[in-house]
Every structure is written in C-alpha cells, then in structure tokens.
C-alpha cells in the first residue's frame, strides 16, 4: 500500500505518460530492437513496392523486349535501358516483375493467413470453451488434417477446381486452419483455468462476452506470432504451388512462378532463380523476426518492459547503462 502511495503522481503527468505509451512507445520499442527494426523496414518497403508497383516499377512487367534478353543484374541492355536485377528470357525487367509478383505473393500470404486464422481461431475457441462432443470431433478432424500431405492435397484439389487466386486462398484456408484451431483451443483451455474467467462469470457475464472481452484479448500475443509465421509459410506454399504450375497463372506473376520459369535457364542466367528466391527468403525471414518482436510487444502483462524507454540514471532500479 505504501508503494502505491509513494508513487502517487500529479494527475497531468500520469495522463501524459499513459498517452505516450499508446502512440510513440511502440515506435520507440521498435527502434531499440535493431533486428526487428530492419525487418520492419524491409517489410514496409516491400509493402510500398507491392502496392505502388504500377507507379514505381521502372518497366512494364509483362512487356517483352527481345533486344534486352538475359541482361545480368546491374547491366545495361543494348537499347540503353538499365536493369537493376537484370532481365529474363523475354527481356522483361526482373525488378519490375518482382514488384508486381510481391503484390500477389503478399496478398495471398496475408489473405490466406487471415482466412485460415478467422476460421481456425473461431473453431478452436469454441472447442476449448464448450468442450464436449464439439471439441472431440473438431480436434480429431484437426489431427486427421495435420496428417495429410498438404501439398499433395492442394495439388489434387487445385487440379479439380482449377488454379487461380481465389482458389488458392480457399485451399490455404482449408489446409491451414488447423494450426490456428489447435493453438486457440489450447490457449482457451489454459486461460479458462484463470480465476478472472470465473470472476467474469460470477458477475454475470454471458459466454459471448467472456469469449470476446476476457479470453481473446489475452490470447492475442501468441496468435499474432502464429499469424505472422503463417504468412511466411503461405508465401512459401504459394511459391511451391506456382512453381509446380498449379498456383498463379501466366500473365499474372508471382515469385514462385518466376522461379519455375527461370529454372530452365539456371545454368546461363542464375539471377532468374536467385532473385525471386532471395525475395521469398528475405520476406519469410523478416516476418519471422518481426513475429518475435510482436510476441513481446502484444503481451498485455509484459509489454510495458518494451514500451517504456530505458530508465534514467536518477531512478534506482535497472541503471547498469
């Protein structure tokens, strides 16, 4: 009690502090974590590149230019055009194509993770909350689907319903919801043990209210991490499916498809495979690194550690630096 009394602050100061935490603190925390910061910048640039591909791309991505075939990275074509990452077998600028491909890869990753997340989290929370038959059936279904070779199933279904953007999202939702369901269920079970759920019930909270205002906010942290990681997984899956010819189709371009096309020329024009490959690798890596940061920052109990700037010398605790 004395501790509370001692740190009683003047009201304005306390309000300022609270306000500062909401707005600037997140940025400050990101700045302090260098690796996450670089990753976030990379993802930010990628997002800009993907969204603004039409305006920012130096060349038309699908325009063939036979006088500029197989220009190596940083090379200049015979017609004088500079190509940062070189050109492909039809003389199309690789950099511009990567930018346009990013749009497809990123949106498939984001939308796929979002859809499977919504489906999986809903089912998982319901299973964990209501237990019983629903849980048994759902969790056996999850076990079953986890045992399926997802790439083969994806190929099979895409063969039947045909390739394309929408169908890809559908397939990814179908094949990835279990990951979210499993985690959401275990988190629900875990949090239901806590007294605050009983307490919420004791004040007459409805199931809906308990789930939405008491359970979910406490589960956000691990789920955000999973979500970020799933985006990376889906970008990779999309790449494999497109590489195999069942994903995004020809005039559209995605990173996986670019690798598939470049494979034929791997001995003479290595950059056709390496550049999109590097894009996939770096994006997945950046997402993983940001996920680690997001875990710390979204934990309601732990986040103040990251959100408050390092203590000043005048304060007694934690002043090693």
């Amino acid at each position: 009690m004395t501790a509370v009394d001692a740190q009683t602050l003047p009201q304005d100061e306390a309000h300022d502090r609270a306000a500062a935490i909401t707005s600037r603190a997140y940025f400050g925390a990101l700045m302090r974590d260098r690796v996450a910061f670089v990753s976030a910048i990379f993802l930010g640039l990628l997002l800009i590149a993907a969204l603004g591909a039409d305006l920012l791309a130096p060349y038309e991505p699908n325009q063939a230019n036979l006088r500029a075939r197989f220009v190596p990275p940083l090379g200049t074509a015979r017609d004088g055009g500079f190509h940062l990452l070189g050109t492909d077998e039809l003389g199309r600028d690789l950099f511009s194509r990567l930018m346009h491909g990013a749009r497809v890869s990123m949106s498939i990753g984001l939308l796929g993770a979002l859809c499977s997340g919504i489906v999986g989290i809903t089912l998982g929370v319901l299973a964990g909350f209501y237990r019983g038959l629903l849980e048994d059936v759902l969790m056996r279904a999850v076990d079953g689907m986890m045992a399926l070779p997802s790439l083969l199933i994806a190929l099979f279904i895409l063969f039947v319903i045909g390739p394309g953007f929408g169908n890809l999202i559908l397939i990814f939702t179908l094949l990835h919801w279990m990951v979210f369901a499993r985690m959401a269920r275990s988190l629900t079970l875990n949090h239901q043990q806590h007294t605050y759920i009983t307490a919420a019930r004791a004040i007459g909270g409805s199931d809906r209210r308990i789930i939405l205002t008491h359970l979910l906010p406490n589960m956000v942290s691990p789920l955000i991490v999973l979500f970020t990681l799933e985006i990376a997984v889906l970008i990779l899956s999309e790449a494999s499916l497109s590489f195999l010819g069942f994903g995004v189709q020809a005039p559209q371009s995605s990173w996986g498809l670019m690798i598939a096309r470049g494979r034929e020329y791997i001995s003479s024009a290595w950059w056709l495979v390496v550049m999109p490959g590097a894009a996939i690798f770096l994006t997945a890596l950046a997402l993983n690194l940001v996920a680690a940061w997001a875990r710390a920052i979204t934990d309601p109990v732990q986040r103040w550690r990251w959100l408050t700037p390092p203590r000043r010398k005048s304060q007694p605790i934690d002043d090693e630096d």
């Binding site: 007294t195 004040i203 007459g204 209210r209 008491h214 906010p217 309601p300």
Partner: protein, 338 residues
C-alpha cells in the same frame, strides 16, 4: 407504519435471504462419481456475516461456486435447493440466473492478482458489471469506477482507473476486486478466502474495509476461510466443514468456547495462543479423506481420538447441541441425551 421486528435470535430471523437445502455437488471423473459436497443445508439472513471454515478440499469453495452457478455441468452435478428470496436459483433459466449474479450476489476470490483480467484496465473491470446492466456511457462508467475506487480507498483513484492490474500490489488488486463486486450494491457478498494471498497487515486492512462496507450497505457476507482467527474476529455465525459436510455450526462465540465436534476442537486446539503454555502446536493426525474414497460412517473417524464403534458404521446427522449450535457427532448427541 409497521413496527420493525427486532431480530431476536439468529434462528428466529423471519425470512432468510439465502436458504440452502440439501445441496449436493458431485463430479464425473475417470475414477467414477466423486462427491465434493454431500447434503449441506444452511441459511443466511440479510446483513449477517457467516463464516465457512474448512481445510482445502472440504467442499467449502465448491459449495459456494455451486450456489453462484459456476460449476460446469458436465462434469459437475448440482442438486438440492438454493432459495434466494424464495426463488430456487438452481432451477432458474440461465438468463435470470446471470441477472442474479453480480446484481444480487457478488463474489470475490482468493488470489486477486489472477482474478483480474491482465489485458483490461482496472477501471474497465470495475465498471464492467455496471455498464453491462445499466447500459450507461463510457464516461459515466468511468465516473462510477472512480467512485467505487474511492469507496474501497484506493488512493488517487482518478489517475489509477487507467492502470493495469499488474501495476497494482496484491492488496490493491483485492480492493479492485471488492470494488468490482460492489458495483451494483449486491445483497450478498461471497468472499472466497479474500485475504489468504495477502500479508497480515494488508489482511487486516481488507477485513476492516469489508466490515465497513457491509455496515454501510447492509449486505450479507459469506466468508470462506481456513483462518480461524479471522473468523473469530469478523463473523456472527460459523460453519465448520469436513469432507463435504457441515460437522458443526453455531454462533461464533459458542463455537470457540464450547466446541462440540472433535474436529472443531482439534482445529481450535491447533491454533497458536498468546496466553497458553508455549510448546509444540497441537495437530490433528492423519489427512482428510480423498473425495473418491470416503470412509464409511463418520468421515472423520479415522482421525478422531474419541471414536467409538458406532462411528465406523453410522454417519451422524447434524443435531442441535445447544441454543443455535449444532454438531454432527454421535458423542455430542450422547452427552446431550444424558
């Protein structure tokens, strides 16, 4: 105007606010049906303070949770009657029952730190019931939260409504819990070991606060605890529970001065005293029976120093042994019949 009826004795109170009749709680487990509470009856008058004493696993918390409707079924089974103001809570529609919780009966829990949602500010949590039931605006809810925080004596409530539970000490968290429970002026407050997780000075502050609030609002308080000292100080009437049953109940003074049941006697003898001779504390030998393996006859007989043959086969019923005092012991009955 009608003249107020004075409450003459505790038993002669006109209509009890809460009347529990033969409450039984059992759970399905992989090892079969386990009885947690086996036929408990008691009542609570408006404004009264009732203590429920018992070891861990004696069924004191489970019984109260059953009354609040917090037992999940399956695996739990609750039977008996829980009459609140004459209406049976157990047969009520879930909707009405939810209405009752928080509004009429509120509950506070042992470990306040974990009984508060870590991702919501204390202000939000205090005003939650109020917003839920009174459908008021955000601003009004915050004002109410500040008002309640003032009532439970949280210093500088205005700046603290926006704080998170982890920024509070244990005692402050318990105050927040109490504020949450008080939001709608309930008629009954159930406190499940409200001070167990706190240190002694804070314990005292919380109990004083509860007594004060109780006096102001005239609400009844049910205090579940295993702290006999706490009971002796704060409670009007107490019940001792053992293995899911009431073994003795009565006015707290009588219980402490003339304990009848060997278990109550054992509990009181095992309390450290300031006046008596120093030395090793008395301890009741053995351990309470596991809920699945209840001994035949009196559940306490394996640990009882005074057991007779009858205790092994026949379960004693709760009988009056003195005015307002009842005990479930064959020996107690015999002393009375002599």
């Amino acid at each position: 105007m009608r003249a107020m009826q004075p409450y003459e004795t505790l038993d002669a109170v006109p209509a009890p606010l809460l009347d529990i009749r033969d409450l039984r709680v059992s759970f399905d487990t992989p090892h079969g049906l386990v009885k947690a509470v086996g036929g408990v009856s008691w009542s609570l008058s408006p404004g009264e303070t009732l203590g429920i004493i018992g070891e861990s696993g004696s069924g004191k918390s489970v019984g109260l949770e059953a009354i609040m409707g917090l037992i999940k079924s399956p695996p739990g089974h609750v039977s008996g009657q829980v009459l609140f103001d004459g209406r049976d809570v157990l047969t009520m529609a879930e909707r009405d029952r939810r209405q009752l919780r928080g509004e009429k009966i509120a509950m506070i829990f042992q470990d306040a730190m974990s009984a508060l949602n870590p991702s919501l500010t204390v202000g939000t949590q205090i005003a939650e019931v109020y917003r839920l039931r009174r459908k008021c605006s955000q601003a009004e809810a915050e004002r109410k939260a500040i008002e309640l925080m003032d009532r439970v004596k949280i210093p500088s409530a205005k700046t603290r409504v926006g704080c998170y539970p982890h920024e509070f000490s244990g005692g402050m968290c318990q105050r927040v819990m109490i504020a949450t429970a008080l939001a709608l002026n309930p008629q009954i407050l159930i406190a499940d070991e409200p001070t167990t997780a706190l240190d002694v000075t804070v314990q005292r502050q919380i109990m004083t606060l509860l007594a004060e609030l109780q006096r102001e609002d005239g609400m009844a308080l049910v205090l579940i605890t295993h702290d006999l000292g706490l009971v002796a100080e704060t409670v009007d009437r107490a019940m001792v529970m053992y293995a899911g049953r009431i073994v003795e109940s009565g006015p707290v003074d009588a219980l402490f001065e003339t304990p009848t049941h060997p278990y109550t006697r054992g509990l009181i003898r095992s309390m450290p005293r300031l006046d008596g001779a120093s030395g090793a504390l008395h301890a009741i030998g053995g351990t309470p029976p596991a809920a699945g393996r209840m001994p035949r006859g009196c559940a306490f007989h394996p640990r009882c120093e005074q057991r007779v043959d009858r205790c092994l086969t026949e379960r004693p019923n709760l009988r009056m042994v003195a005015k307002g005092q009842a005990a479930a012991c064959h020996l107690a009955e015999e002393t009375r019949h002599d």
